[in-house]
Symmetry: C2
Subunit: 416 residues, 2 copies
């Protein structure tokens, strides 16, 4: 391991004490000050961001994700003020009891310690993640993408200057060099880093999953289904499915596959087609659905290949499959779901219950769009991502889960 | 992957529905019935166990761990009855709120799904783990050690026969072949297994950590310190330290290193020596402590090598180090602790608070023996192990943590 990476890791461990000494009010105040500092440096941030943008082709889809303008920087400040207002997730008493021999045994929430976040193009992640870590008393190691390195280093520098202004250890927030070769050092630093959160492409998450010795919280892909059951209100179903697909196709809670009960396939798809049409949604349909959609004159129709199921489209595209019944829908979802967000449209309460119970996903919906899976909507505030794993955090991974537990036992000389 | 391993994995996924359909009372009843069946087959279990024992040298320390006799089998039955009485950890409502647009958003606990447990010599783990998984509605894949394979297969067979008797899918509990070559198949079956829990030696845990793509909960080693601060009641401290070392040295919450404040080193060690002496505790002492202990005539004294700090002894052995003050004690613990159980003996309330806050461990003690870190003592019932990691479960990993969360959203056609 390079010496400076070793220094970075030591610095992070050492900085835990400094953030631990800051009061709850102090943390809020610091975040408010940071909001003001970022706002005051809008021009400088834009200038640094331009260096990154100049290295990228404006036609690259990453260009827009990389871009920071006045509105987006104002958004960063606003989000810092929001995080400041969120309740401190640490110090909560989870349980307490006194044993027969007089031991007081308490369980409390405490910061995780050192949180590593590996992310890609969007530089706003630097500020979002740092603010959530600061709010919850965690030290963070940020490793942003090479594309955004000038912006990220400048933003981290602003955060560090505010930490120093408050008499704190500036290494509470460190931005690692973007060079890919250092990622392995970070992933295997289990003595120094308490958790790593990868945010970004499948390839990044795969790299982290394969190589990490540090525990990982994955915020993964969403392959989301909506099952239109035989008793569904078809107007509602067409409206909800359309919303789930088109309102923001590039995000993980957007719909990918429509499962429709054979008994309502023709009327449902006939209602759906004119709603998808204005968005030119490319539909990959199985043979039966193809025939129905073709008969409606739908223009953006393809035959579904096997790979079109279980595929996260992130675009104005979706697949359609006709199923026999709820059981077949459940089997399909079990086989293809990424366990993110899954919905059923039905007026049959018993079938709805069965679906909600049996589908294995972070969020399960009855008669609503999967697009609602989100930390803000779920009442958690800003999120680091949507966890599709089952340990520690499932669904929106937000401030409340940037903690671990600690058992605290107070005695008077008891022995066992 | 071998076809039969693929079948095993498919069977496990498929069996989730069967256990999900069993009521809470049904689960309790099944565990009580299993207790009776195990009791009724005591002779047969002993006969199968003898096959395993016959393959092992009775002088091997693993021999005793492998052995099942009437008393131990009665213990298994008793533990099944206890698990039956524990509260169902699933179906608990964690949060609920209705959004402005009328969505009801609930978060509930649900079973993890398929739990894999990889363990070594002790065949009682087969029954303990299966019972905790059944109680919490989880399917389990058990992979016991080669040493215990006849006993494990027989015990799993008994459990499966009871499942069938209840009209359930017997694949709710499956015992994998003990052959080491199948471990990798299990560790990388992230599409089938929701969590893997390794129980056993450091080498096993290392193998799992290095190769697992399935999320892991480690139940690791305990390198436990007790710091005797300057204001400690020295009689209490000597008694507590002795208990922490000698009451059961082979377990993870036993003391490994005594840190003692220089100002009380001589009187404390002079009180301690005669208490450790009857147990012939081999003490690895730093130069100063060595001199003091030597002057008391202590017979089982060694000079500490650097490797004697951070070492889990699991035996009547410990290391001693004299420190300047609380800060130095905290630094030592931070460098050498395995984050399991750490204690301070002090009458200084402020120093106690500082220690409890700053030490990064699953359990932190003021004026008590580290030996209390245990699921039963902490009020959780039977445990699968003591987690020294920070995600999901920290400290005793018991029934309450064999769950994940699920967001359940009920609407009336809402879109975003």
């Amino acid at each position: 391991m390079m010496e400076f990476i070793q220094d970075l890791l030591n610095n992070a461990r050492h900085a835990r004490r400094s953030i631990a000494a800051l009061s709850d009010e102090g943390k809020k105040d610091l975040l408010r000050r940071l909001a003001a500092v970022i706002s005051a440096h809008t021009a400088e941030i834009i200038a640094e961001n331009k260096k990154d943008l100049d290295r990228m082709d404006p036609a690259d889809p990453k260009y827009d994700r990389l871009l920071l303008n006045e509105a987006r920087i104002a958004g960063l400040s606003a989000s810092l003020l929001e995080v400041a207002e969120l309740a401190d997730p640490t110090g909560a008493l989870i349980s307490a009891h006194t044993t027969g021999n007089g031991l007081l045994i308490q369980k409390k929430t405490v910061p995780l310690g050192v949180v590593g976040v590996i992310y890609e193009s969007r530089p706003n992640v630097t500020v979002d993640v740092a603010s959530l870590c600061l709010r919850s008393g965690n030290v963070c190691l940020l490793r942003g993408g090479q594309d955004a390195q000038d912006t990220n280093q400048y933003l981290a520098g602003l955060i560090r200057s505010v930490l120093e202004e408050y008499g704190l250890d500036k290494n509470i927030v460190q931005q690692l060099p973007a060079d890919r070769k250092y990622i392995l050092d970070i992933l295997t630093a289990e003595k120094y880093i308490d958790v790593i959160i990868p945010r970004g492409s499948d390839q990044l998450i795969e790299l982290v999953r394969k190589n990490a010795l540090v525990p990982v919280i994955e915020t993964g892909a969403g392959v989301c289904h909506t099952y239109v059951e035989a008793t569904a209100k078809l107007d509602d179903a067409a409206r909800v499915v359309t919303n789930a697909k088109v309102s923001r196709p590039s995000v993980c809670n957007a719909l990918d596959t429509i499962l429709v009960d054979r008994s309502v396939a023709a009327p449902f798809l006939t209602k759906l087609a004119p709603q998808l049409s204005p968005y030119q949604v490319e539909v990959f349909a199985d043979a039966e659905a193809y025939e129905i959609l073709e008969s409606t004159g739908y223009s953006f129709l393809q035959h579904a290949a096997p790979a079109d199921y279980g595929r996260e489209f992130l675009d104005f595209k979706c697949s359609v499959k006709i199923v026999d019944d709820l059981d077949q829908a459940l089997e399909h979802i079990d086989a293809y779901s990424s366990k993110h967000s899954e919905a059923i449209m039905t007026e049959d309460a018993a079938k709805a219950e069965l679906f909600l119970n049996q589908v294995d996903a972070a969020a399960v919906y009855h008669n609503a769009s999967t697009r609602f899976t989100d930390g803000q909507v779920f009442g958690l505030g800003a999120e680091i991502g949507i966890s599709t794993q089952k340990l520690h955090a499932r669904g929106p991974f937000a401030l409340e889960k940037l903690v671990t537990e600690k058992w605290i036992i107070k005695g008077e000389g008891q022995t066992r």
